[in-house]
């Protein structure tokens, strides 16, 4: 069953994203929201862990990136930026949601 994992905390402050990446099974989706969007940045001490996660589709919420002044060009390659409508669509497309707080 396809699961949607959401993460709303900075990976530099708490291990929510790290645990999410460890627990999410191949075929799952990960959506970074709120302070979780910092996990989408490339060139950080955490980015290798995101890149190493195999079989996951990773999304980031555009409005939360924009709020924080993060440049889409600085994101890890392959992470898809979505808007609120895309968030709703992801929720509809998955069987269950796991929120890593």
């Amino acid at each position: 069953m396809a699961m949607l994992h959401t993460v709303n905390k900075s990976p530099f402050e708490i291990n929510s994203l790290e645990r999410c990446l460890q627990m999410a099974k191949s075929g799952s989706s990960v959506l970074l929201i709120e302070d979780g969007v910092y996990g989408a940045l490339d060139g950080t001490v955490f980015s290798a862990k995101v890149k190493a996660a195999d079989g996951l589709t990773t999304y980031v919420l555009g409005p939360d990136l924009k709020t924080r002044g993060l440049d889409p060009a600085k994101l890890i390659e392959g992470i898809e930026i979505i808007d609120y409508d895309g968030f709703v669509q992801l929720v509809a497309d998955h069987d269950r949601i796991q929120s890593w707080l």
């Binding site: 530099f12 940045l41 950080t44 980015s47 939360d64 924009k66 002044g69 440049d71």
Partner: protein, 135 residues
């Protein structure tokens, strides 16, 4: 004022996700009325508070990043940013707002407020303070 003390506001949280950054900034502006020797320090996710280009038009939140520009007018002109925290997050000084203050002793010349310091220098700065307020 009988005695001037060294106050440091130490910011370690990212903006928007929690209220710490905005609350801390408001306390700095209020505290400026007491004419103390004030500095601000940014480490860990606190360095994200100073990124330029913050735009809340799509998220309906209050964009308080322009307020950091007003700090110079409140004579808060020592803003220390830890190099290691920027490095860990893939940030350089160029990613941060260019904050300035006007030096009235030099014909109001605009001078940069941000001083990038090493972790060791930051530790020394903490040691020098009379009071550290944490946000």
């Amino acid at each position: 004022m009988s005695e001037t003390k060294k106050f440091m506001y130490l910011n370690r949280r990212a903006p928007y996700g929690t209220i710490y950054a905005l609350e801390g900034l408001e306390v700095v502006l209020i505290g400026a009325a007491f004419e103390q020797d004030v500095s601000m320090a940014f480490m860990d996710d606190g360095v994200f508070q100073l990124t330029k280009g913050q735009d809340t038009s799509d998220s309906d939140m209050k964009n308080f990043s322009p307020t950091y520009n007003a700090l110079g007018d409140y004579e808060v002109n020592k803003i220390y940013v830890e190099q290691e925290s920027m490095d860990d997050r893939g940030l350089t000084l160029d990613d941060l707002q260019h904050l300035v203050w006007e030096d009235e002793d030099e014909d109001y010349a605009k001078k940069p407020s941000i001083r990038v310091v090493s972790r060791q220098e930051m530790a020394d700065l903490l040691e020098e303070q009379d009071i550290i307020l944490n946000y």
